[in-house]
Amino acid sequence: MARTSTIRAIAHALPAKVLAHEELVARFGERSLASILKMSGIRERRVVAPGQCASDLALAAAQRLLKHVPVDPATIDALIFASQTPDYRIPATASILQAKLELAETCCTFDLVQTCPSFVFAMQAGHSMVVAGTARRVLVLSADALTTLIHPQDRGLVTLHGDAAVATLVEPCDDGQGGIELFAAGTAGQHYDRLLVPAGGARLPASEETRREQTDDSGCTRTLEHLFMDGPAVFHFVVYRVRDFLAKLLKDHGLTVADFDTVLLHQANKTMVDMLYKSLGVPSEKRFYYLEHVGNSSGASLPSVLAQAWREGVVKAGSRTLLCSFGGGFAWGAFVIRWPADADAAVPGDVDVPPPTAT
């Protein structure tokens, strides 16, 4: 058993297809997009092409990571696929990826379903396995293709979201070398209906009625099989509830923002992220953004930020990072990692995943 775990490497992957601002202007008009661009800070989104799944992005990220890090895939004891957009309802996409990555048959595989904070919970699960000694090496694959659940005429959501995947390799960390220091999480399930896809699950099966398009008062169109978001409710939750969660986490552990070199947040939209940073007193040199040209990639957003922060040298060996994500449920989570002195988690190379070729 190890005292703690650490992230040995992290690699992200983005679909090559870009949904640019200009295309949305043609769809919705310049004036109606002006306030969204200003609020969100998102100018382009990476979106899956027809036939391209979240797991395809996850596979690409994992393959790049395994090519860069000299580990035998057969030594990966567990694969966790954290996603809201699996390949099938049954079986777990993690099992399919085990075969595609040619991992050992002794590998434990499972899907983890949560909204935007899924990376935190997947890390907690992987970390727990390492510390308990039930897995020496865990591959966490965070992947969401949320754009497949958003109606193309829902101006409020199609402008925000992108798709992405991230592969994170979790391993034991020796005593005194750093590693993950704490996890914290929370849930307020009474607000589940503020961010949801109402139909297509067991509670409201898909039907002709649930496929009927409806346009709301603000001109956004969707069906019950598409994602719905109550913007003010989500905004209020993040700006006040998540702020209070982080403030309490710091206080409970005798920490302040000064104890961290970087504070990384789920890239929901820039205004929201900035309000959270400001309320916590995070100075600009400890902030990092990765959304302007990729969009809000839901569960893949926070690990994408971390992967890119490593690639740009913002997160470094020996430094300490606070990571936090939040989303539908409502659910939220955070963890702290002190990077070992010899940490080198960046995975170089092209992050783009081309569309599938016709067969």
């Binding site: 004036r31 109606s32 969204i36 008062d217 603000s218 001109g219 956004c220 003010p232 905004f235 205004t271």
Partner: protein
Amino acid sequence: MDLCVKQNIADELQIDPDSLTSDTPLADLPYWDSVTILSVMVILGDATGQEISPMEMANLKTFGDIEALYAAKTG
């Protein structure tokens, strides 16, 4: 309402602030939508230093309601 706050709100709504009266129905404004509602929530929160709830935003029907909310939050 502070003129600067009114200007900021008018900018989000992409209209002349002089055209906003207490009786102006928000639903009649072409850019009163899910995104500008959030923007106004941020403007009011920043201007008053107070928490603005989703319910308070949902109850806004006229510009006069926004003015009343601002007044209530600034005491």
